[in-house]
């Protein structure tokens, strides 16, 4: 539990540290670096762990880390700056972040954040003067089925109510260390509502591996091919083909190939990997080990999003147990030459790291900027080694294929989408949670299962997915019809679809890595136009501007984040146009600002508020 109660965090960033503080900082830096070795590729992990001790990363600590790793200080500063959860200024002994996804907002997160700010006497985004607490918003924390949710010092609290907000405020005011908070506050439900082959699996640790080892890696690859399993992260690339490319890529045998499990489940509205990692971690790790066996990898990484920090300790325990059972490490299941182990790397608040090449950069301790492709990770991945990056659910599914065979798996689902899919259902329905459906289920079937009525729209695949209107509810969940990474957000007829799209676009602007021009600037320009509409200053030409930006984002962005950033508005304008038009009070040009409002700052500075300090509408 990262509970940062050291006296250091009370000091201002700008004040020179005392000699004692410097000693303490150095000690922490030395301790963390000793654990990781002075390896630059561990930089992000080193920074995360130092911050868990110190609660922030003082400038001198950044310098120390750079010196110890023999890398440029600017590079370290660049990495610290990239990740939302790392900061070079004190941010309070308690750092509270409210999940800002539309679903949490619909459940009242905004009101609760305001309420907590009032109770603790502070403004969002600012630290209280005594250095006690800061409160702000953060991107979706993966708790849409039990929101509103927040993170306090990285730990998750769900199902917020006014009562809980009161309790938390009180605990913070009394400066109660997190370890002494009532533990039921930190409970996270699984909310499994519908099970199929994957969630019904009764496989024990080692079952799938034993089955695979009995027949050899070539036979495993054969079953994988027969299964037609496709990546569950959304892109739907055939898993066997990816493994095959990786397997055939030339490799430096001393370094070996690499398996990466992408558990950076950051797509707003998605939380199915959370449940797999909580209840089915053995399946996930076993799937990684199967992949290693098939492609000949020695090293595995599970990249866990920072928001799931609370899962780190339990996952480490599962890994330890597997090592003890001979399912990881040297000579797995006594098979000489089958050596493979798994390391967990933490993310630190960067959605873009879910993109596989950005994830690899992050694993290497760098800023999470997507790479140019080609070359692809299967030939040049982690530190240039052939790497297979697979989704959590994909790897878990591989265990079913290893034990039951590819044909049995391919019988389920549709022609081009075999097997089942976990859906993370949230929003306006009776039973939010995890639903496992065979591919081919229609949207209407899913809506019926979760008890959703009066549905205006379904957001499939998260913010970067598609917005479906009722006329499309007969469509099928499948790669050949409506593909999805698993998010399924439901909006009833009372919801404002403009607000939904606006929330998503602000999310993309916040999460843009800023590498390419269109995404860096375009997402900001888009939020500007949406805010203009939202504030009642929208006009017809603004819709034309939005249209142009959408086109440029789609066609010229470096990665899918920028390409998808426009999706919510494109779908919105096509399917829910009245929600936009009702905000368009003006047909012709209308400036984006109000002259009188623009004078507000001047009025504050001069302390005036008389009639002469205002410009009235008719004068303007």
């Amino acid at each position: 539990m990262p509970d940062s109660q050291t006296p250091n965090s009370q000091q201002s960033a700008l004040r020179e540290p005392t000699a004692e503080q410097r000693r303490h900082w150095r000690l922490v830096v030395e301790g963390v670096i000793a654990k990781h070795g002075a390896r630059p590729e561990q930089l992000l992990q080193i920074l995360i762990e130092i911050q868990e001790e110190l609660s922030w990363l003082p400038l001198k600590v950044v310098t120390d880390v750079a010196e110890r790793l023999s890398i440029s200080r600017a590079r370290v500063e660049g990495v610290v700056g990239f990740y939302s959860f790392l900061h070079t200024r004190p941010n309070g002994r308690f750092r509270v972040l409210f999940s800002n996804n539309i679903i949490d907002r619909m459940l009242g997160s905004q009101t609760m954040m305001d309420e907590m700010c009032r109770k603790l006497w502070l403004q969002p985004g600012k630290m209280s003067e005594d250095g006690l607490v800061s409160i702000g918003p953060t991107s979706c924390t993966g708790m849409g089925d039990q929101g509103p949710a927040l993170l306090v010092n990285g730990m998750t609290i769900t199902k917020l109510t006014h009562q809980r907000v009161n309790l938390i405020s009180e605990l913070i005011r009394k400066d109660t260390p997190l370890a002494q908070w009532p533990q039921d506050l930190f409970a996270v439900d699984d909310n499994i509502q519908r099970k199929d082959i994957l969630l019904n699996s009764a496989l024990k640790p080692g079952d799938a591996l034993r089955a695979a080892l009995a027949n050899g890696p070539d036979a495993l690859m054969e079953e994988m091919k027969k299964s037609k399993l496709r990546g569950r992260g959304g892109a739907g690339f055939t898993t066997a083909q990816k493994w095959d490319f990786c397997r055939q890529a030339p490799v430096d045998e001393a370094l070996g190939r690499v398996v990466v499990c992408n558990a950076d489940e950051g797509e707003p509205g998605t939380f199915k990997d959370r449940v797999l990692l909580t209840r089915y971690a053995d399946l996930v790790f076993e799937g990684m080990t199967l992949a290693a066996y098939a492609i000949g990898a020695k090293k595995g990484f599970l990249y866990l999003r920072g928001e799931y920090r609370y899962l780190l300790a339990p996952l480490q325990e599962v890994l330890s147990a597997r090592r003890a059972q001979g399912l990881l490490g040297a000579s797995i299941l006594s098979q000489t030459g089958f050596d493979f182990d798994i390391e967990i790397h933490m993310g630190a608040g960067a959605y873009v790291c879910g993109e596989e090449t950005a994830l690899l950069e992050s694993l290497e301790g760098k800023r999470g900027t997507p790479r140019i492709r080609p070359p692809f990770p299967v030939t040049h991945g982690y530190l240039g080694r052939p790497t297979s990056v697979n989704n959590v659910e994909t790897l878990a599914s591989a265990c079913l294929i290893a034990t039951q065979g590819g044909d049995a798996f391919a019988k389920i689902g549709t022609a081009q989408s075999s097997g089942t899919k976990l859906l993370s259902i949230s929003g306006d329905c009776a039973q939010p949670g995890i639903y496992e459906f065979p591919f081919g289920a229609t949207i209407a079937e899913v809506l019926e299962a979760c008890g959703a009525t009066d549905v205006q729209a379904v957001q499939m695949g998260g913010a970067s997915g598609v917005t479906l209107a009722p006329s499309e509810f007969s469509r099928k969940m499948a790669f050949e019809d409506v593909p999805t990474a698993g998010a399924f957000m439901i909006f009833d007829s009372g919801r404002d679809m403009f607000e939904v799209a606006s929330n998503f676009v602000h999310f993309f602007a916040h999460e843009s890595c800023g590498f390419c021009t269109p995404c860096r600037v375009g997402t900001s320009l888009l939020t500007g136009y949406l805010d203009k509409l939202s504030n009642g200053y929208g006009s017809k030409p603004d819709l034309a501007e939005i249209d142009t930006l959408n086109r440029v984002l789609k066609s010229t962005s470096h990665c899918g984040l920028g390409q998808a950033a426009a999706n919510p508005i494109l779908d919105g304008l096509k399917k829910f146009r009245p929600a936009y038009e009702k905000r368009m009070l003006h047909q012709d040009f209308e400036p984006a600002f109000n002259l009188d409002a623009a004078l507000e700052r001047a009025r504050q500075i001069t302390g005036r508020d008389d009639a002469g300090a205002h410009i009235l509408e008719e004068q303007a």
């Binding site: 440029s72 990997d273 299967v378 860096r520």
Partner: protein, 258 residues
């Protein structure tokens, strides 16, 4: 986000699709036949054939970077960055079409509004690649609302001035300092629209780094961020780099070397 979004080049091709060794050696660019050698990008091949594809972050001395996106072209109907896409036999590339020119114009306008670019008072005026591209693309106004970011200048160094207001994030200084000078004086910090250039010192001042005015990094900025002091406005109007010939002509390699 999981892998639910799929970068340019999204469908992972068969590995052999990129193995161009055994293929014939030309493609068409706006109807013209362009020869290439295996491993060349579309942009490089075009450049060697005397056809200029606009670019800002690409530089002949460095590997492709692919961030400015000005070199966007359409290959067989699909948008790609020509600096980062290997040339392949028989592909049909469109670069100078009304659609692509319009998109490039929007990208340039984006670069203008996100920074503070006051050409008339800028030392780099006339020799600035961003300005030269704007002239080539007939940009008369920034079109979008200006962001007016607050970016203080750094005049701490005795011989060099940093005016961050003009940064277009091409990372040429970052790459030159790291890969050529071996110093890593520059890096980018933060992300999205807040991304900005930082220097490698605890004070954040250039004077406290080991940069030298003769470093490649100090002489590669395509815009007016990294400037040599006491050398501003020394070239009269009419004789500045892009006064006479547009960047689209100067950006091509010497004809003899082709």
């Amino acid at each position: 986000m999981s892998q639910s979004f799929t970068p340019i080049g999204q469908e992972m091709p068969g590995l052999d699709q990129w193995d161009v060794r055994h293929m014939s050696q030309s493609f068409t660019l706006d109807g013209a036949e362009v020869p290439f050698t295996p491993g060349q990008s579309i942009l490089e091949a075009a450049r060697n054939a005397g056809i200029y594809i606009p670019h800002l972050c690409w530089h002949p001395d460095f590997p492709a970077h692919g961030s400015c996106k000005l070199c966007v072209v359409k290959v067989n109907g699909r948008h790609v960055s020509s600096c980062a896409t290997p040339a392949a036999a028989g592909i049909e590339v469109k670069s100078n079409s009304p659609e692509i020119r319009e998109e490039r114009k929007v990208l340039l306008q984006m670069l203008f509004v996100e920074g503070n670019h006051f050409c008339p008072s800028c030392e780099k005026s006339g020799g600035c690649e961003l300005q030269a591209q704007a002239y080539d693309h007939e940009i008369m106004t920034p079109h979008y609302t200006l962001f007016y970011p607050d970016r203080p200048v750094d005049a701490s160094h005795p011989d060099l001035l940093l005016d961050f207001n003009r940064c277009i994030f091409c990372e040429l200084c970052v790459r030159a300092s790291r890969d050529v000078d071996g110093k890593s004086v520059f890096a980018l910090s933060e992300r999205g629209i807040h991304k900005h250039l930082v220097v490698s010192s605890e004070s954040g001042r250039l004077a406290d780094t080991d940069i030298d005015p003769s470093d490649k990094a100090a002489n590669i900025c395509p815009v007016g961020v990294i400037l040599h002091k006491r050398q501003g406005f020394t070239v009269p109007y009419g004789q500045r780099a892009y006064d006479e010939t547009p960047i689209s002509e100067q950006g091509l390699p010497n004809k003899e070397t082709v």
